[in-house]
Symmetry: D2
Subunit: 379 residues, 4 copies
């Protein structure tokens, strides 16, 4: 962290800032320019009382130099990243195998979710997803999920998907909307809680999830920068919770042809530079176009996703919600197969990619040793 002093700050003000920081146990350095003085702060920045420093006389701005998230951050080195495994039931995300999570947008009936579970199982998926309370951008859509009326309806709806998941050996992933419902989800036997895009910055919900033992899939908000999102993810993890899965589901952009824009650059950054948490890609919401889910899911895997989330339905033409983006059974089967082949290739290519990210060091060393050869001749 750099503390930028105002142009008119006095020497005493600078000294007071340094003293304050020393008192808090930080080391400092100083850069005194003609116009601007910067005070560098060293130590565990996550312990810095930012507000108190910013309020000191003469301070203009705090400029972060290193990352503000610690628990969500990458451990290991660029060429040897350490990936953290997160289990959904018995299924391990972020390990050697790609995890495929599929199911209908919403649980509509026992028959439908049973059929859906059979479909996912047969296609080769490992987890079953399905919403019991649904977001709807219009209050007039007429369907907000089996569990939308009260706690009893929520319990019944959750019971249906849990039953279907157990019948077919598929751990279940269900989205939550209300922090007051966490215990209901836990008691119902759901295996993983999902935070949807509209709740990505829902502080009350994120705080509440700090203490659930269940793994959490936290979808990135559509207006969140890559690292700003990781700070919201960090919020769930501050108390020590570790079983969190990142999810890129599309962000805003000038693009209007697809519903959202899948950000594969951030997927790659999450996996290879910024975080050790498993990264999921959800191309159903990311494109909102059924027939584009296949190529964009594969793009997400090739960028670094190790978990796939897709909507699929025994017959999306009769789905009660978001049917236009749900896969047909034949499409799901084709995609599961294609996704696994893509993952295998991605893993194989990592063997040459990861060593190559360290090459810069070699060049720096060689440049030092042989300046004549590498430095640009002035044309």
């Amino acid at each position: 962290m750099l503390v930028k002093m105002r142009r008119e700050a006095t020497r005493d003000e600078v000294a007071a800032v340094e003293k304050k920081l020393h008192g808090l146990g930080f080391k400092t350095g100083k850069l005194v320019g003609e116009e601007i003085t910067l005070v560098g702060v060293y130590g565990d920045i996550s312990l810095l009382p930012v507000g108190e420093i910013a309020e000191l006389a003469g301070v203009e701005q705090l400029i972060p130099i290193s990352r503000a998230y610690k628990r969500a951050a990458q451990k290991g080195t660029p060429e040897q990243p350490i990936y953290q495994a997160v289990s959904i039931g018995k299924v391990v995300c972020g390990g050697d195998d790609l995890v495929f999570i599929a199911g209908p947008c919403s649980v509509e009936s026992e028959k439908q979710i049973m059929e859906a579970a059979r479909l996912v199982k047969d296609a080769g998926g490992q987890c079953l997803r399905g919403g019991v309370v649904k977001y709807r951008s219009s209050p007039y859509s007429g369907w907000e999920g089996l569990g939308s009326s009260d706690t009893e309806s929520l319990k019944k709806g959750l019971a249906l998907i849990v039953k279907a998941g157990r019948e077919f050996g598929l751990p279940t992933v269900v989205e939550i909307l209300d922090p007051g419902d966490v215990k209901v989800y836990e008691d119902a036997g759901v295996d993983c809680i999902q935070i949807g895009e509209p709740n990505s910055k829902n502080q009350a919900l994120l705080n509440r999830l700090r203490t659930t033992p269940l793994p959490v899939i936290h979808k990135r908000g559509n207006s969140l920068d890559t690292e700003a999102y990781l700070l919201w993810v960090e919020r769930i993890m501050t108390g020590g919770k570790e079983n969190v899965i990142l999810c890129e589901r599309g962000i805003m952009s000038p693009n209007r042809y697809t519903r959202n824009t899948i950000d594969v650059g951030s997927v790659a950054a999450f996996r290879y530079q910024l975080s050790g948490l498993p990264v999921a890609v959800d191309a159903s919401h990311g494109t909102g176009v059924r027939d584009l889910v296949h190529p964009t899911t594969l793009a997400g895997i090739m960028a670094g996703a190790s978990v796939v989330l897709v909507e699929a339905h025994p017959n999306p033409l009769v789905a009660k919600s978001d049917g236009f983006q749900g896969l047909f059974p034949e499409q799901l089967r084709a995609l599961v197969h294609a996704a696994r082949e893509t993952w295998r290739l991605r893993r194989k290519l990592d063997e040459t990619y990861l060593p190559s990210v360290a090459i810069e060091k070699d060049y720096l060393a060689r440049m030092e040793a042989d300046k004549a050869r590498f430095f640009r001749s002035k044309s």
Copy 2:
């Protein structure tokens, strides 16, 4: 609403769609092209079971032609809009007077909020704002408000601002984060509940607020289109609730100099074309730059805002949160004064502006009567 049939849809499928709509009490029309058939639906579209229609065989897409929000929509005509008044305590928003709501980002102590209330009163403001539980984009900011630890702390924090408001005759506006807390806010005597930007699409919270008697200020999410936002506002109003206030607080854009981008085009559209609800502008969050709050607030009023929200603090240099965007007392006084002058001018200019939006009709009539004069000669 238009129902667009697929290219390969059969006549029977089109007929089935029409039959279904008639059965639901809607009238229909039909447009049969060489490639595409469109079925028009007439009647109260808010009653249309969109999902059921979309699932019918042969249907490709539903294309909205008129607005999907009814209760949040403008009543009256463009040249004679009808504005709906919403009271916060005894203060009437959306009436003849500009309403000025000010206060600190967060309630920090009894002393601080009392001083702040005095400041707001002295400056000429009508309502007191202040957060008791605060959003923080980083979980390491060290301050999430007096009421962030548990319900008891929340009650105590709310009591402080309510006391300060009553002491100075200022109704109070406080942000809520958790749907489980609505009753606590009501019982504490808060006069208006605010929904912050990160919760703009928080369905559980919006649904819960349908039944509060308190007025609600609903801030626009930073990734929401003008009308998509009105659909989320409509959600609170579906059960008959009417006392809702719109709030433009800045949206995302390529602009990085200010924290967000105040969208005055939407402010103008809300007031003059789309809605009858009062429109607030919050330039503190909209710019995130203390010294830009003044000109952008005035811009918002000139565009059509009738309510102003700003952060102000007895000394923002020592504020526990967002001090960089809070106004100093002298700045608040200057702004209240300037805002009232701007509002007076805006109201006066409406007298010539509103009649001018109807001028197109006259031209159409004259063009019909005298084609020779108005139609373009082909150069």
Copy 3:
């Protein structure tokens, strides 16, 4: 195209619109609602004088229903798309093989571009790229390319890259900035002209390129919607020019970690739904982060790109421009290899993907035949 009439439009006005359209050789249909009348227009919409229709009395708006671009559009069917081949010199883009175009951001000297060409050749690339006049967002960057001072310098700079390309059997791709320079590029023996992102909507330049025999790579502007971009591409093609290559190089978004956001959903849409033109992906500009170029390029290929553009340099640490995003030789070699493997897999997976996009028709047929089985039971 639909012509939406104003609410207050008279029957005579509607009739006049229909008459006008018939006079222009179009067929029409009509949808008369209680409030709104729509006139449908059938025929080759690219011939419709939009302005003249919009100016007719009573017309409110023209609503496009089918696509406004014709020449850039997909021929064939979703399950059997027809791809158009575009040759750069002897290298065929959009055919069976992935085309890899690489080279330095800018041509710096004869020695540097020769070394770069050798590097590209050795790594397995097919075309050489390099700028002779460079965009720089700051006028103080100190380097705008060898050819930036006048036409003579431009000729000399172009001669260097053409010589290097010929020496190593690599057709050359060079960006153009000024419409007045097209002939200079043609005469210099450049094999392909590139339009950079800042010129994506440069009408004078696009118009001028209509008549060049050289193939053109047209990069998508960072604020252009998927289809709005295709309309700008269409501009070059209106006179019959066919050898144009699309290029996704990243668009704007809330993401600030990478320089731009590679939009793989649009890449997939270009290849599988909207266009038959070859699609390039440029992950160097798309990410602006050297070590992310590898995974995002592969993501682009898996989404449907058949051409790869990357910046590579004998030693990017000494590059005169954009060195931070240029690949090291070892990285280029690893990427060319990985890209070809990814392309092979993509092509193989197309064999199951393409048939699956037609599956919807089967479901519609089966639903018709057996309604009881497919239609949703009401809970």
Copy 4:
């Protein structure tokens, strides 16, 4: 400017960076942390050979601390900004009076532009605008302006608007598309050249305009950050040219109701913090909705614009281009009047606003003098 050294940079590398900078005539400072070393550079940063520094061994990144644009930047102090006047013919922009520039989207015929000029004069406008070559997002719009076919047609088109302007004593503002046409514009007697949004980053055109004696209105590109735009403006000014006018005409955002989003926060920043150049607001393109031009133009003035650009037409219902956003004569008259009243109020309010931006210094002084009173008690 800060030079951030890599984590693994050696002391010798740091020393080499300092030596290089000293050799170039810059002073330096140093901040040595446990992990990161920063070298501060002092002096006229616009003379720094950024590329050469970035290529030195051990350098990771250059971090700008002060502004990269010098000539476009604000002179004076926040409380006493110095505004630079730019003359269009005899009309002074950026002085005591608001300048109102109006006219049709395109010059259609002598009769039309004469009528338009009369309208602008009668309404109280000071300059006449009108395009002779027009941008069209679709190549099939059928109308690209009188001057779109060749140089002769361009000369004839320019002659029409110049004649109309002179007839009514209105200096003329005409957009240019091709750098090859600058001399044609100068010779035709046009009084001001406009750069449209699609050409905001057109380097060849901006470079060419460095040497025109005519004033230039440079519209902000819709994907440009506030300060990134000023860097493109700076490009025209590097050779000493001073007569440039900024123009905010709307940027991209999630908002889809209006055509673009007028960024009043940047307008305020341009006028009160970043630049001394006159600032224009163009709400015709900024909203694309005729009836919203009035309130958003006034918002722009209240934010700080001193120049207004609007499209107006004797009868926009028959305009050949962009008629939907052109003002009717009655609307233009109402707006000119309202704009002048708004400007008068803005100027009056500046008298209390400008002193208030300096208040922070007083607080800092008082806090120093009386810490007990101002520092936050720890509740």
